[in-house]
Amino acid sequence: MPNLKGIKPREVWRQLTWTWKPASEREAGDSVVRNLLLHWFPAKVSLGSLSFRYSFWLGTISALLFLVLCLTGVVLMFLYVPSVERAYQSVKDIEFVVSFGWFLRGLHRLAAHLMVAAVFLHMVRVFLTAAYKNGAGAGQNRPLNWIVGVVLLLATLLLSFTGYLLPWDQLAFWAITVGTNIASAAPLVGQKIRFLLLGGNEIEQSALLRFYVLHCFFLPALVLFLFAWHMWRVRKDGGLACVDQLALGHKAEKTPPVRTKTYSLLGLTKGRTVHVETALADEDKYTVHAMPHLTRRLLLVTLATLVVLFALTMVVTAPLEEPANPRVTPNPAKAPWYFLWLQELVTISTINIGGLTINGALIGGIIVPGVLVVLLAIWPYVDNTGAATTGVWFAAARRKQNIVFLVVVAVVLALMVVGTFLRGPYWDFYWPWEQWPQIPKHF
């Protein structure tokens, strides 16, 4: 029996929690090494990367929303039945019978919509600050991390899209009909992809189950893996791109930084990283300890995200239309808002060249988005402005590409607005103040 006399509870408590409340600089440095939840932070963070103005913390917000989606999603899995006969009824139960069910579903739905928006805005931010470029550090590979980010954006869209079918109502059914038919417009493999995705030719039980498994396991696992890779690369690349600006400016104004040996957690390694440049990392006027400064801001962003999410959930009711009916197409039938720009494109892009008609689904649904994604992925290798633009908002040397990028973003957003607010029955154009004609629902 060990001698328990003389042990003060307060001491024990402190032993258990000191990493969350470091009392000295040394403890602050130690805490990020000792604490599992803090270990992915660096010991010190530059003031620039902490600022709201530089990054708007959009990546963090995306990750937080993903966390909310995982937590609410797992609970919803206990309540939802992925069968054609019972899916709609179980969602209705979640909405109207289960305690706080409406809240869970509302949270899940809004977090999903907001995550699409946050990830997209994160991408816009990274583009406009040229944060996909390598700067001053050795061993950087930010272009690779940008590609990981593009795949994460696509995975986010797919997650949202697969979740869209699950309520098995009219909204879900027809959005997925249009979406999967776009896939089938791809040359050669399109029909096969659709067949495999649906597990048949029609949207029936096997399609629902496939979307369910993709939504609840496959895609979240993919996102989790890519997210881990994304964060790991951010650390390997020396943090946010604005840090490189600091280092570059530093080099210009001072003698070269002292080269020191570095023992990273991965062992002895060759080359230098931004962190090794002691002259920079140690200067207090540029950096602060991650614990507590980074964690405090992180908690603040978490709180703000949750407040917005909860408030919106209270106000916005998640729609649930009539049960899915393959025989009746709602008029108009609309895809989810983030795909409405594609729906607009597939509507207007059927063309006729010398008697050969090319389906708009191929041009607007496959070729245009395909080209955009490929352009996004290779852009860091195309952008040949120097390292000096790395981590700078609207750098003058990148003015042209920033303008082109913003124009594309504006067009996409404009098409979304048109699709959401200005399209009525038979996809005719109506101003918001114009009445839609009354149309019988059934033939």
Binding site: N201, R327, V328, N331, T350, G360, W427, F443
Partner: protein, 183 residues
Amino acid sequence: MKSTRLLRKPEGGEKGAAGGVSRRGWLDRIGLGSLAASVVGTAYALVRSLVPNVLYEQPLRFKAGPPDRFPEGATFLEEQRVFIFRQQNTYHAISAVCTHLGCTVKMVSLSQPKTVTIGGRQVQERHEFQCPCHGSKYHGDGTNYAGPAPQPLTWHRLEVSPEDGSLMVDLGSSVNRDFRLTV
């Protein structure tokens, strides 16, 4: 920078005495090869199992009931998404699946007969088809004339069942637009 060798190479290097593959190199290849084969094989089995061999969907060829059941003009079979047209004792079937993205087109009766030119011929029509999803429009015979639809609505083959004389529709078939079944 001096790198430390992690694996000691066998005496005489990777090459065997005769310049061929050494025993260790050969075993490496056998081992890695069988590992790769088992992974690829299992992956194929996993993916292949997801390609259905049997579909429990509605048959594409079905009996629509006795020909007398259909009134003059158009009848919409909701379940199968097809229009059956009757003109006295001739019948034809036009698919209601939009050729753009597969929504169900709606038949719109025109308040006044409209004269249109289809393939160089003047035709008077009393109805047309419109798609609610992306606004494609088709003439009464299924010819696309507006919107994103890339081709006309499909005409399906009609037959009379030898068993009980009922009208049979084959949704898997496609026939010319002069097809008429006379009963």
